[in-house]
């Protein structure tokens, strides 16, 4: 399941672009690989992050993994729902399981992202 309208990273994050604000999460493939998510640690609102910086962690019954910023910018919102119900990431990774919203510093931040087709090839589901 790789929605067409989104952009992707090789570290399995997705990005939905809406003007200068983007919404990020992890892909369906990533949640399936991680297994049941137990905790998510997200950055504070207002934090400035660089592209590819580890900005949070996600813990599943299998492992603890870093979350990497797909774009650089300022964190404008985080998904508070995940504090109580982190399993939302497993149930709805592209919808209610989103992680953060980031105000990007420029359109250049989006250049490095992959299309759905490219990401599909990366994970062998193209």
């Amino acid at each position: 399941m790789i929605p067409d309208g989104l952009k992707y990273t090789k570290t399995h994050e997705w990005v939905r672009v809406d003007g200068t604000e983007v919404t990020c999460g992890i892909t369906d493939h990533a949640q399936s690989e991680l297994g049941d998510v137990v905790f998510v640690e997200l950055p504070e609102k207002g934090r400035v992050i660089k592209r590819e910086e580890a900005f949070g962690t996600i813990e599943s019954v299998k492992a603890v993994s870093d979350l990497y910023a797909p774009v650089g910018g300022t964190v404008s919102d985080t998904n508070r729902l995940l504090g109580e119900t982190p399993e939302t990431i497993n149930k709805d990774p592209y919808g209610d399981g989103w992680l953060v919203k980031i105000s990007i510093s420029g359109q250049g931040e989006l250049e490095h992202l992959m299309s759905a087709e490219e990401y599909g090839k990366l994970i062998g589901e193209g």
């Binding site: 019954v61 492992a63 603890v64």
Partner: protein, 487 residues
């Protein structure tokens, strides 16, 4: 919730007794005459009232729900779940060991001190190191103690360093210990043979590096054959070489970490030296060091003066005490018993048989499961369940299905560099028959993945409980039951 066994409090019947106390040999007096009023409790403590057979049946019943090494094969990779000889328990229960007080004057506990001193010597001889502390109560605490000594060593030389290198195949405790010790961990990549990538190590090694933490053999069960080059690179920048001794079971009597150039090594007595594992129970993670790290060992150090043993606190550069009293003494008695029972040749045979058993399993399973690193392994090896996953069955499902065969599952999803990893360590204490039974189980499961995948996906079918809510247990851990509220 389905209750398999009531708690011992639920079994309680008023007035029932499990112990018969001897008759008083002094005149009986009311408690009020013996203790001041503020020391007397108003309510009786909430203790279960049960008979001896009820207690015995309750705990035997509980132990039958669990899987343990006295019940069946336990190939949990990196944990060295070898059989724990019962003679260890006999020694540990000798009154001279079991009933000493930690504050007893040294002169009155010479036997206990001698045992600790000799255990330290034996560990030095096995590992090729110069001095040992027995204090750490677990491998991870050993790691922390080792890193604190390395830090003290660098500080003393006036060069405070900031980072520690760790291969990407390392145990998760390594970066955690590094962080606790105030360092930053920097990952070193593995090459396509599953060993430390020497070029990547060279790139990462600079004057800011305090140490490289290396597990040898590594978590893939592979001997780091470039260890001499690794040693030159690490010592070349003035850093120290730390060995995570989790996999020492492959080296006994064959190769010594000290000879490979390691400066600090932690041992897991509960792995290599057959003392009981976990269950929250005591472990022991002694740390051995080369002479230049000796001054920083935790106090007290046990010294021998002629025929007398004493506790030496006179180590001005010591990192201090890291555990109450002297560590888990009962565990030391067991490990000492094991080493003396095995002897030098016996210990070598331990490692040889551990290696032969692992290679036997590996060769029998490699055609059916993917084997990412095909070379000969040491005491353990890592398979990948990739092929089975393509058929819709995850490694987790295979692990759960193994429980139906009376086998504990291998370590799964670790090391992280192997997808769908199954890490298998049979240990030396398994017979060919028990290894063959495990092979049969693994081959049967692989067939089921093709013919009846649902049976594997819904396993286990025969255990007291089925799949547990691991995520729920992680999120909302609640292990307390209140007597007044039931479950």
């Amino acid at each position: 919730m389905n209750i398999l066994e009531p708690t011992i409090f639920d079994l309680s019947q008023e007035g029932r007794q499990g112990a018969a106390l001897p008759d008083l040999d002094v005149p009986e007096k009311p408690l009020e005459e013996l203790l001041p009023e503020e020391s007397l409790r108003r309510d009786l403590p909430h203790l279960p009232e049960v008979s001896e057979p009820e207690v015995v049946r309750h705990f035997i019943h509980l132990s039958s729900f669990n899987h343990h090494i006295d019940k069946g094969f336990y190939p949990l990779g990196s944990c060295t779940m070898k059989y724990n000889p019962k003679v260890n328990e006999v020694s540990a229960r000798l009154p001279g060991f079991a009933r000493v007080h930690p504050l007893a004057p040294a002169k009155t506990v010479q036997g206990a001190l001698r045992l600790m001193h000799e255990l330290g010597d034996l560990l030095c001889r096995i590992s090729g190191l110069d001095e040992v502390t027995l204090q750490p109560a677990a491998g991870a605490q050993g790691e922390l103690a080792g890193l604190m000594m390395i830090r003290a060593y660098h500080d003393k030389r006036g060069h405070r360093r900031s980072k520690v290198l760790i291969p990407d195949s390392a145990h998760g405790t390594n970066p955690a210990s590094v962080t606790l010790a105030g360092y930053r961990s920097v990952q070193v990549a593995s090459n396509d043979r599953g060993l430390v990538d020497i070029d990547d190590l060279r790139r990462a090694a600079d004057e800011e590096v305090a140490a490289l933490m290396l597990t040898n053999p590594n978590t893939l069960g592979l001997f780091e054959s470039d260890i001499e080059e690794i040693e030159r690179i690490v010592h070349g920048v003035g850093a120290q070489l730390y060995m995570d001794g989790a996999n020492l079971n492959a080296l006994l009597g064959i190769a010594r970490p000290g000879d490979m150039g390691f400066d600090v090594v932690h041992f897991n007595l509960h792995k290599t030296f057959s003392t009981p594992h976990g269950g929250g129970g005591p472990g022991a993670g002694p740390v051995g060091v080369k002479a230049h790290i000796g001054p920083f060992l935790p106090v007290p150090v046990i010294l021998r003066d002629g025929e007398e043993y004493r506790l030496d606190y006179d180590r001005p550069d010591s990192i201090g005490k890291i555990q109450s009293f002297y560590g888990n003494f009962g565990v030391m008695v067991r490990a000492y018993t094991y080493i003396r029972m095995m002897g030098a040749r016996g210990l070598r045979a331990v490692s040889e048989n551990a290696i032969i058993n692992a290679n036997y399993l590996k060769r029998k399973l490699e055609g059916t499961y993917d084997l990412p690193y095909p070379q000969h392994c040491q005491h353990e090896f890592v398979l990948s369940g990739r092929r089975q996953k393509e058929q819709g069955v995850k490694t987790l499902d295979i692990a759960k299905r193994l429980l139906d065969f009376g086998v504990h599952a291998p370590t799964i999803y670790f090391p992280l560099i192997v997808p769908e990893a199954l890490m298998i360590e049979p240990t030396e204490t398994e017979s060919k028959e028990s290894l063959d039974a495990f092979i049969d189980a693994m081959l049967t499961i692989a067939r089921e993945v093709s013919t009846d995948p649902e049976r594997v996906r819904t396993a286990p079918h025969t255990t007291p409980v089925r799949r547990l809510d691991e995520a729920g247990a992680g999120r909302k851990l609640d292990v307390r039951q209140r007597a007044d509220r039931g479950v």
